[in-house]
């Protein structure tokens, strides 16, 4: 994929994340920070499907943005065909792992499997 397209994805995921993370933080503040972290409150948040869906979208957006950012930083430090391929595939693998691990939490909790 061309770097110009990757940067457009990087900026797009950044802007979308800002909007959705703002909603995520507002949920914590409107309920009271300490109360919103109580077990029952967290479970209720996950069982509210639109919110769980939003968490899944945030997870995907931030994983893409974060690991692409890491890839860019590493490629600024060192270049070379082998290094660049290793960094790119390593970041894609780490991104996929984080998405899978986070999705497991969201799906199991929202489906009442806790």
């Amino acid at each position: 994929m061309r770097e110009s397209v990757i940067m457009k994805i990087h900026y797009g995921t950044a802007l979308a994340s800002v909007a959705l993370v703002a909603v995520h933080i507002l949920f914590r503040l409107t309920q009271g920070f300490a109360e919103s972290l109580q077990y029952e409150s967290v479970i209720a948040n996950y069982e509210f499907l639109p919110y769980a869906g939003m968490l899944e979208i945030i997870l995907i957006l931030l994983s893409i943005h974060g690991f692409n950012g890491l890839r860019v930083i590493l490629l600024e430090l060192k270049q070379g065909p082998t290094f660049e391929k290793s960094v790119s595939y390593g970041c894609i693998a780490a991104m996929a792992l984080i998405i899978l691990y986070g999705s497991r939490t969201i799906f199991m909790t929202s489906m009442g499997m806790v």
Binding site: A14, G66, I73, G102
Partner: protein, 144 residues
Amino acid sequence: MAKVDENKEGIKGMVNPTRYGIERFAYLLMRLTGLGLLAYFVAHIYETSNILRGKVGWQEFLAITQTPEGHIILAIVIGMSVFHTVNGIRVMLGHGGIGVGKPARPDYPYAPQSQNARHKIAIYSSIVLAALAMMYGLAVMFGE
């Protein structure tokens, strides 16, 4: 007499904002905050997965994170995210050609058109906003 080579100051020379300007400092801070936020994001994914351990497991983990030290770390994360967001928007606008000035003949002292007052104000604003957000976060966390 010891020979001083300005190119051999290493990281100390790189982070010095007085030599290369605030733009270079913002460049470095953008990367540092990005790495810090990625580390927090991965830790947050692990932290929230503790909900699968049930009520006792969740409260055990909450007892570790909901401490004064945990609140201070979270306040630093708030500051990093606000700086990264505001400075990121500045960078995006700059990449889109907004606020970078018009091309002009390079005259002495060869100040680049893109490194103008608008961008400097935006960088300082992002640092001030990050500090304000940190203070607000601390007030919310320690106020309860």
